[in-house]
Symmetry: C2
Subunit: 213 residues, 2 copies
Amino acid sequence: MAEGLRERKKRQTRQYISDVATGLFLERGFEAVTVAEIAEAANVSVNTVYNYFPAKEDLFFDRSAGVADRLARWVRGRDVGESAARAVLRELRSEVEAVSPRVGLMAGYDRFMRVIHEAPALRSRLWSLQQETHDILEATLREETGAAADDPLPDLMAGQICWVHQAVFVAIGREMVAGRKPAEVSREVLVLMDDIEDLLSEKVLNYAVRGAA
Amino acid sequence: MAEGLRERKKRQTRQYISDVATGLFLERGFEAVTVAEIAEAANVSVNTVYNYFPAKEDLFFDRSAGVADRLARWVRGRDVGESAARAVLRELRSEVEAVSPRVGLMAGYDRFMRVIHEAPALRSRLWSLQQETHDILEATLREETGAAADDPLPDLMAGQICWVHQAVFVAIGREMVAGRKPAEVSREVLVLMDDIEDLLSEKVLNYAVRGAA
DNA sequence: TGAAAAATTGGGGTCGTTGCAAAATTTCAG
DNA sequence: CTGAAATTTTGCAACGACCCCAATTTTTCA
């Protein structure tokens, strides 16, 4: 059973509104497009837009669900004998090496970045996402290491690991906006990641090592 | 001569509006206070408020001018033989040890933090400030080390140093909001700073050492 | 003292966002 | 197949931040 035609239609409508909105944003910028225009272009009322999306920014970031816990997932999936930081570095390198769209290495990603760059509201959203990523990662580290509630280390370690993540993404964003080709950026970022790893202390690189299975 | 009564009056008006606004914000929260209310309470028109402050948030952060370049100033003022990171750690420890209001160690600072915490627009502003701090610090490190324009290190080092700064401030904010006494928080944060320094690699701790005078 | 410069104001308007109640649509029991 | 119930969509009105512009008041200085 398809669990209702209603549900399907709702998801459809939601997706359609988001698509139309994203299209307009990429074409004319975030601030230049009004919610009323989006509604009209999607053949719904403004209220319907707000029924699905709590704010205008959510129309843009709809695709990026499940990004906030990516770091935490990587940490949870680390190998035996591997630390949290090294797991993240490994996964990140793997994505970069594969020129994966998941890390922004794709033709046309520069358009996305440019739209974000020009809209303070969207940049603000990215910071929120970063914060969320940090909080989830901290909680995960706390669980995985069994650290006490007043242990400051999970917080600090999450900060360091998020910094790695952020540095990589900022670099990718900058190069892509500068008009470089994904493959080029991939190679360049891989050497940057060596620099980044060099700046991490042994304490960070050896935190939360997974014990023998 | 006093360079004009006009200038004086302008500064006075500006200060007064900001004071009235801050008072209202601390009393009732950022979002609950309307710009129209502020204008009325300050005996000016709404347009005058916007003449002095580009946005509502600027009314709250008016005091924090010159915060964005504090890290850069500390780095520029480092001793002979001292690195950028160590200079920041030293100055920061000095402020924390002195229970300085400049780092939020003062009675009533919890009110500030709480207002910020509850208003997304204000949190967003803090992130902007952090970003500005980073950019200024990066530029300073580039100058001070004479690094090439495509050298990634100043960017990364600025990231690490800003992380230190941010970790300290977040900790202070959290403890103050929790209702702790400034002196207590000071002691506690000093030991946290030892943990933080422990997480920095030698590369970071020895970057941009000032040569002999 | 009077004209130029600058500050303040009021009015009107746009846009994001919310609340509410009416209207259209979908579901499902009988 | 039908009608009532549940749910979605919509229109309308409103609030608040913010902007533009022209009128007006205040300050400056020749």
